[in-house]
């Protein structure tokens, strides 16, 4: 476990369905960080990832403000102390 764990923040819109407080979790890739977060909040996993473990089509993830590259295997590196934001794309209706 690193001294400066990454922090994960979630969009306000998801909180209406499943509570996702900001938390510091361990991990060196986006997949590891999300897995660590969801291991104590299993219900939230299905709101962010699809059945195949990919980032849902209309969700977006940023690491220190940078859009990620790998939405399927979530291999983007997460530096120590980074902030991961899970947000939704905008849409209407």
């Amino acid at each position: 476990m690193s001294l400066f764990m990454p922090s994960v923040r979630f969009t306000r819109n998801i909180q209406r369905h499943v509570e996702c407080p900001t938390r510091d979790v361990d991990g060196a890739t986006l997949g590891e960080v999300l897995h660590a977060y969801f291991s104590t909040n299993e219900r939230a996993r299905g709101y962010v990832l699809d059945d195949e473990g990919k980032l849902r089509k209309h969700m977006a993830a940023f690491i220190d403000g940078q859009q990620i590259d790998d939405r399927e295997k979530l291999t983007d590196a997460v530096p120590e102390g980074a902030v991961v934001d899970i947000v939704q794309s905008l849409s209407g209706g």
Binding site: N13, I14, H17, V18, R43, G46, Y47, V48, D50, D51, E52, K54, R56, H58, M59, Q88, S89, S91, G93
Partner: protein, 373 residues
């Protein structure tokens, strides 16, 4: 008290029949996209399927008639085999993602199978729960059938299972309707499946393929409870009926103003009585000449009445989706809802209709709470 659940683009609404008639008793999930609701007559459980868009497809269950809800497991697709490459369907795009896109059918198992629920999904999945929705398993024999990969989307990009008919005489005997993939039957609880759409015709296909069973687009399959050998189908290009448990189908053509539509309901006690709410045609999905009508046969399809009493007869553009018409277990009360948020009830087997609302969100499904058994 009689109840009916109305699933809409912006919430689930519970109607109750009191002394003064039908009235809205409760609004649940207001603002959320509720695509389907299913009251389980065996134990009173109530299920609601939600499509949160960004956040995926969820399933909730209430054990107090809709006062409180708990999120339960949603069906989850199996892992794809290593190196899997989908085959091309008859038309359209293959199912690349094995991931839930829509819950399109929910049906309780037999009275002798407490806890069994069947669930049809997009893309092309049939799931079963043995524990009232706590967990789900995909039906592998159907999913792994090479003919399943030939299914294609009709309206939606991907194929889906929208109709599930559990035979009241034998719960292992189940039929499903697939858009687009015909009608399928199992007689052993889902271990083996037969494609049972012989006689259906798909005029949207090239001439040499029009009678292929696996390309058919039955919009909705309805089975008569008292005589399960009789099934009615509102198909993409017409009305079809089977009198031999789906072994063969016969097309019914002479119905005014149209045989196009999505919804069908059959009388639970009399297989000769069925109701439809037609649109104009595939390319014009609204009522003919702006007049909302219900078509009804009372003689097994030989003749049809076009019922207008109580329904708007000018500049009405309501389309009624496949799950948005239901009949109660007496065959007397019917309710249907439309894409423009209108809701109508009949308490005389469809002779006349009364508007319950004309400003609901788009209606996806209506479902009566059936008597517990």
């Amino acid at each position: 008290m009689a109840r009916c659940y109305v699933s809409t683009r912006k919430g689930l609404f519970t109607l109750e029949r009191g002394g003064g008639g039908w009235a809205m008793a409760r609004a649940s999930f207001v603002g959320d996209n509720v695509t389907l609701a299913m009251p389980d007559p065996r134990n009173g459980d109530l299920f609601a399927a939600l499509n949160h868009g960004h956040f995926g497809i969820k399933l909730h269950r209430s054990r107090d008639g809709g006062a409180t809800w708990t999120e339960i497991a949603a069906p989850k697709y199996p892992e794809k085999p290593e190196g899997y490459k989908p085959k091309m369907p008859v038309e359209g795009v293959p199912v690349v993602d094995w991931s839930l896109k829509l819950i399109w059918a929910l049906e309780p198992g037999g009275t002798n199978e407490p806890g069994v629920i069947w669930c049809g999904t997009l893309p092309g999945g049939l799931f079963k729960s043995d524990d009232s929705g706590q967990s789900w398993a995909i039906n592998r024999p159907l999913w792994d059938d090479p003919r399943r990969e030939q299914w294609f989307g009709g309206g939606a990009d991907q194929p889906g299972i929208h109709s599930i008919c559990v035979d009241p005489r034998d719960a292992k005997h189940v039929k499903i309707g697939v858009s687009c993939g015909g009608v399928w039957t199992t007689k052993d609880g889902g271990q083996t499946w037969d494609l049972t759409a012989k006689g259906m015709r798909a005029n949207f296909m090239p001439p040499e393929k029009q009678y292929e069973q696996n390309v058919q687009d039955p919009h909705m399959v309805a089975q008569c409870k008292a005589n399960p050998e009789v099934l009615w189908v509102q198909h993409h290009n017409g009305i079809f009926k089977s009198e031999d448990g789906a072994a063969t189908w016969r097309e019914i053509t002479d119905v005014q103003p149209s045989t196009f539509g999505f919804a069908v309901a059959v009388h639970p006690k009399n297989p000769d009585i069925a109701w439809f709410v037609p649109g104009t045609s595939d390319e014009k999905r609204c009522p003919t000449d702006g007049r909302v009508v219900v078509t009804r046969t009372r003689d097994g399809g030989k003749n049809f009445e076009t019922i207008t009493r109580g329904l708007p007869q000018q500049h009405a553009y309501d389309l009624v989706y496949r799950h948005a018409l239901d009949v109660d277990d007496q065959g007397r009360t019917l309710i249907f809802g439309s894409t423009t948020g209108s809701l109508w009830v009949s308490e005389d087997s469809g002779d006349s209709w009364q508007a319950l609302s004309s400003h609901l969100p788009p209606v996806y499904a209506v479902k009566f709470e059936k008597a517990r058994h």
